[in-house]
Amino acid sequence: MTKVYVSSVIPAPAADVWKVVRDFNGLPDWAPFVAESRIEQNAHADRIGCIRSFTLKDGGRIRERLLALSDYDLSCSYAILESPMQVENYVATLSLTPITDGNLTLAEWQAEFDCTPEREAALTQQIGSGVFQAALTALKQRFGR
């Protein structure tokens, strides 16, 4: 099992950041690499079990299932059903924690998955820096002071 962890300080209160990231269908609104997204079968985007199907700007298509969404913990977990990344058992969690000192937010994004050993380093880099940290950086700039 390979693990990836990234985190970032977002210069805004956790409630404000959560409004943006809790929308499971909202990636095109803030993640720089997502072109468009829809929820399959007209389900609500905060319904556990719903599937988002989105297209990356580079053309790749990904389907992910919402596993958990907590407005109390400010966290959301999901699993990949289909992607061009050659990963298995991929489960990720995006969570927010208030930083009381300055009313900021710690955003954490972590994933666990299986892959072939020779792809591990490249996937860790791609998911960690290319996807999660890049998206958190975009989030940071969205709230930028």
């Binding site: 930083i99 009381t100 300055g102 940290q133 930028g144």
Partner: protein, 511 residues
């Protein structure tokens, strides 16, 4: 049940912050509310179940038990067993998380307890502010880093940080906005930067950022920088006054070239010197809080000031406060030809004591004889404790000033008089290790282990020593020899010479 939750960002790697916080008995070293702390029954401080028994700076005593500690999750929790306040059922946890795009640390401190209803607000405020937020500030202060969580205009002055390398390929991801150093054009200065603890080789000349002085600071252009054994202990990590990357050095003389907005009584062009933490003197220029600066009069040169202020202040509190030397006392001074040894010999004699000096060679013996030592022992040739007993007709020395450490400690105990006082103020040959204090009873020996900062860290503590030292200097009670000088870039050579005992007297670096 109330819950208190406070969190912050500390601009330091998580390993550094955790190394401090995981020591369940170490809170007296950083939290301003804690005066002293010990673990009941001598258990290891990180053993689950250990109970820390501590005293507040305000006088109350508390006991707290470690409930869990995880180095993997960087989390620990504890509960109160006894306290002078009704924090009933108090259970608290500390949790760290890394901030991966800035090498910073998220720190959360939370607790639950049942206060009496009428004291609820007061106790919640006390825990949140006086314990947690004060703890955040103290750790930030200890690590000497800037506060990433605060808006830029409210930040304390940035710690000295290596200037960003130029010519590095831009990263594909935009640089983080709030954790990155500001991108304005900063001034730089050349300084000796310690990027990791180690031997003299870690002392490397680098270009580092020099921010504008904070409101309470002045910027000093150094003319001469003192080299002291305490700098060696900072370089090796034996003392944690310096945390890498950092600039060593606690003593220098120079000219003020800029003053902060809140400074009064000091102006550009004034000659000043200092001998105090924080470290950072091994630099061409630096910012320094103004309240511990000493003005230099024209009769004191930069080199003399830089070579002698720290040693003079130390000699002052060693001879007057740690032990008040009285006329007729027998004073034994080890490493008497060294920078501070030379001052102690002259000054103890001036105070009317009989001075016995130990040195490592005949050349050094001639130096301390010229300074007025009544007796000189070359300890490489002669057992110094036997010699002291012979010179004192079996009575022994009333006080021994010992900066040598492990090599002389046992001999010093043997050379002391009944009710003698061993002042161990350094460990040039290595730490003295563990000693059984029962043995001290055979002569009712007192042992002191003074720490420079505790005698000098406020203007009120420092000023009397500075005055006393400069007065002694002007009265020629102590004379300062011409220090050996090295280019700032050759700081490593200065440390090598100091550590291999090649030198006598003081050493200075010239920028």
């Amino acid at each position: 049940m109330v819950q208190v939750r406070q969190s912050t960002i500390i601009d330091a790697p998580i390993e550094e912050v955790w190394a401090i916080l995981r020591d369940f008995n170490g809170h007296d070293r950083w939290h301003p509310a804690i005066a002293s702390s010990e673990i009941d029954g001598g258990e290891p401080a990180d053993a689950v179940g250990a109970v820390r028994h501590f005293r507040l700076a305000g006088g109350g005593e508390l006991r707290e038990q470690l409930l869990a500690l995880s180095d993997k999750e960087r989390r620990l929790s504890y509960c109160l067993l006894e306290a002078p306040l009704p924090l009933m059922g108090y259970v608290a946890s500390i949790r760290l998380k890394p901030v991966t795009d800035g090498n910073a640390t998220f720190w959360e401190w939370r607790s639950e307890f049942h206060p009496p209803a009428h004291r609820r607000d007061e106790l919640v405020k006390l825990v949140a502010e006086d314990i947690y937020r004060a703890g955040f500030a103290a750790i930030r202060n200890l690590l000497g880093r800037r506060d990433a969580a605060m808006p830029a205009e409210a930040r304390p002055s940035p710690a000295i940080m290596p200037s960003r390398p130029t010519g590095v390929a831009p990263r594909s991801i935009p640089a983080p906005s709030i954790l990155a150093p500001p991108r304005d054009t900063r001034e730089t200065t050349r300084a000796i930067l310690v990027e990791r603890y180690g031997g003299p080789d870690v002392l490397e000349l680098k270009e580092i950022a020099l921010p504008p002085p904070a409101p309470s600071e002045v910027r000093i252009r150094h003319m001469a920088i003192g080299v002291n054994f305490i700098d060696v202990y900072c370089r090796t990590g034996f003392f944690d006054l310096l945390r890498p990357p950092g600039v060593p050095g606690m003593e220098a003389a120079g000219v003020i070239e800029a003053v902060g907005a809140a400074i009064s009584g000091l102006s550009v062009g004034d000659r000043v010197a200092y001998a105090c933490p924080p470290v950072g003197a091994y630099a061409e220029r630096r910012n320094m809080t103004a309240d511990l600066l000493v003005r230099l009069s024209d009769d004191i040169s930069d080199e003399v000031a830089a070579a002698s202020l720290l040693k003079g202040v130390a000699a002052s509190f060693l001879l007057h406060d740690v032990h008040a030397v009285r006329p007729g006392e027998v004073v034994l001074i080890h490493a008497a030809a060294g920078g501070i040894g030379q001052l102690l010999v002259q000054w103890a004699r001036h105070l009317g004591a009989t001075v016995i000096a130990t040195v490592s060679s005949d050349d050094k013996a001639r130096i301390v004889e010229r300074l007025g030592a009544h007796h000189v022992i070359v300890y490489s040739r002669e057992d110094f404790s036997e010699a002291v007993m012979r010179l004192t007709a079996g009575a022994g020395a009333n006080v021994i000033y010992d900066a040598v450490g492990v090599d002389t400690f046992a001999g010093s105990l043997a050379a002391l008089a009944t009710r003698g006082h061993l002042v161990s103020f350094g460990q040039a040959s290595g730490p003295v290790g563990t000693w059984d204090i029962d043995r001290l009873a055979s002569k009712s020996i007192t042992v002191s282990r003074p720490n420079y900062a505790h005698y000098t860290d406020t203007p009120e503590k420092l000023a009397p020593h500075v005055d006393r030292f400069f007065t002694a200097f002007r009265q020629r009670a102590v004379r300062i020899g011409q220090p050996a000088s090295y280019d700032l870039a050759k700081a490593a050579d200065a440390h090598r010479d100091l550590e291999t005992r090649k030198t006598s007297g003081a050493l200075v670096l010239l920028p």
